[in-house]
């Protein structure tokens, strides 16, 4: 455990993440079933078309999703005051999936934006129920909260499967529940910029969120309207979760691993850490997507599967480290 805030981190980590992301960004633009040669971008219209219609949207979508999920995880951990929760493990993502399922059943003709809105409302409801219960669990047993969240998410997931089964929508469910970028092309990802807007909003209210992480009593003592800040945080988490579920599908572990690693090194003052959490999240998801594209080239492995392995291993390691430190 790092006990002192290092002064070098800002520059070194920033440089490393920046360079790494730039490298991944270029790789992601280059890798795919069809070869893309950068030099031909200027003379070959087909290359330009491939670049603008598929590669660039996919790369941007991966980065936006990663940044958004990492921030959603960070805020979720701040609100629940527990380091082991994230939207995919606390019923948020599953509620969003339920929302879009219901939207598809009731209003099949609605636009993607409308469906996303309904999914956001569902995610908000599901997460509020989770948080209300989580605050009643004893703070002395920090592992109960994520456990509750996981099973809660599983129960909502079972409802989703059941409804999907009855309504014969299982093939759609697969799109929403297992995260994948292969279907992302121009015209199908632009809503994800909403996640970027949410990140900016989170950064704007970062101080308030940090005060909330100090607990209700300190928050009230400092004159913060605790309830309103909780609600704002919930809205940010729900919108990000709904957007990513609708467009990409559920991706596990991003929101758990990234904020935990950043917190170990840089602490929890969100004003300072939000940019890094977003950057590292983008880096991680883009990296996993790239890995999924390369492992069995020219076929693709969904990013959720790759992340399940990579993120799962990282998360287990985090838990072991924490238990070793008591």
């Amino acid at each position: 455990m790092i006990d002192r805030k290092p002064r070098w981190t800002n520059w070194t980590i920033g440089l490393a993440v920046g360079l790494g992301s730039a490298l991944l960004f270029c790789l992601s633009l280059a890798v795919g079933a069809d070869d893309l040669v950068f030099a031909r971008l200027f003379d070959d219209p087909a290359t330009v078309q491939l670049f603008l219609a598929s590669r660039l949207p996919r790369t941007l979508a991966a980065m936006l999703t990663g940044a958004g999920l990492a921030i959603a995880g960070l805020i979720m951990q701040t609100l629940a005051r527990n380091r082991f929760v994230e939207p995919a493990t606390a019923g948020t993502a599953q509620s969003a999936a339920l929302g879009i399922l219901i939207a598809t059943l009731l209003f099949p003709a609605a636009t993607l934006a409308t469906k996303t809105l309904i999914a956001s409302v569902a995610a908000l409801t599901g997460t509020s129920v989770f948080l209300m219960t989580a605050h009643r669990l004893p703070p002395t047993q920090p592992y109960l909260v994520p456990l509750f969240g996981l099973v809660y998410g599983g129960v909502i997931g079972a409802i989703v499967t059941f409804v999907g089964w009855q309504a014969d929508l299982l093939q759609f469910l697969d799109i929403w529940t297992s995260g994948e970028f292969s279907g992302v092309v121009r015209g199908r990802y632009e809503l994800l910029w909403g996640a970027a807007a949410m990140i900016v909003l989170a950064w704007w209210v970062a101080d308030r969120l940090t005060v909330v992480s100090l607990g209700r009593e300190i928050s009230v003592g400092l004159g913060l309207s605790y309830q309103r800040t909780l609600q704002l945080g919930l809205v940010i988490v729900s919108v990000i979760a709904a957007l990513t579920v609708v467009i990409v599908g559920i991706i596990p572990f991003v929101g758990l691993v990234v904020p935990n690693v950043v917190s170990r090194i840089m602490g929890d003052n969100l004003r300072g850490t939000i940019p890094w959490v977003a950057g590292c999240g983008a880096f991680l998801v883009l990296g996993c997507d790239l890995l999924g594209r390369l492992l069995r080239y020219p076929y693709e492995i969904p990013v959720a599967t790759v992340m399940g392995v990579v993120g799962g291993l990282l998360f287990l390691r985090l838990m072991f480290m924490r238990s070793a430190h008591g």
Partner: protein, 252 residues
């Protein structure tokens, strides 16, 4: 002036406070003493609007605590709770900096930064300023929380057992700091104290409670009598005069 009128509180039909009437004028140190479960902490958290009022009313400088905007109150009144568990990984400087939050809402100015530096010095925390609070000892963390409460710069300071976890040196230092701001800046401190001799030495006024009622209330010399103490704590305590202050031999 803090005015407490006819305040009662019960939790699941168990009465915690029974009809408290108390006026605490501005300036000076008031110590709340009494056995466990007397209702001291509950009274403090009601004044600091951490719990909703059930009956009666409380006002701070004429502002009722239940209807005044929370931020306005936070510029007048700061509270330190005794179980100040902070799980966030903030540095000592960042934590103390959040004491200024009511004044700058997240955009600190030069004055705020200067006050944080002053608080770091005042509580011997300058060497720890870049340490994460979850790596500090209990006493160091308590000092950081006290410094944060001081840094809020309010007219009224409510401290719930602030001496918890502090060693003798730092306990004395905290009490002397309180005395100083009370004397020099005319600020008001209301402290729940377990060590009654600290109250005897530093407080201007002692409010002794038991079973949700105020038993006696007045300057230390008047409150700290053997009869009063028996009525509050339930056993006979010998009281000596040492260095001009009453000294309770409560451990004998």
């Amino acid at each position: 002036m803090i005015l407490i009128e006819n305040v009662s509180l019960s939790y699941r039909d168990v009465p915690i406070l029974r009809g408290i009437d108390l006026a605490l004028p501005k300036g000076g140190i008031t110590a709340l003493v009494g056995p466990n479960g007397a209702g001291k902490s509950s009274l403090l958290s009601l004044v600091a609007r951490l719990q909703p009022l059930q009956t009666g009313c409380i006002s701070v400088d004429g502002m009722p605590v239940d209807t005044t905007p929370s931020r306005t109150l936070a510029q007048r009144l700061a509270i330190l709770r005794q179980d100040g568990i902070v799980a966030s990984r903030l540095t000592v400087r960042e934590l103390i900096g959040f004491g200024r939050f009511p004044h700058h809402q997240g955009r600190p100015g030069a004055l705020d930064l200067a006050l944080v530096d002053a608080a770091l010095d005042q509580f011997d925390l300058a060497a720890l300023s870049d340490r994460f609070i979850d790596t500090l000892s209990g006493g160091q963390r308590q000092r950081a929380l006290v410094a944060m409460t001081f840094c809020q710069g309010t007219d009224y300071l409510l401290l719930d057992e602030p001496l918890n976890n502090l060693d003798m040196f730092h306990a004395r230092q905290l009490m002397r700091s309180l005395r100083r701001i009370a004397d020099e800046a005319a600020r008001t401190a209301i402290i729940v104290l377990h060590d009654i001799n600290q109250a005897a030495a530093y407080a201007d006024r002692i409010v002794a409670m038991r079973d949700g009622r105020v038993i006696v209330d007045g300057p230390p010399a008047a409150v700290l009598t053997e009869e009063n103490m028996e009525a509050v704590f339930g056993y006979r305590i010998r009281i000596e005069q040492i260095a001009g202050k009453p000294f309770l031999m409560h451990h004998l």
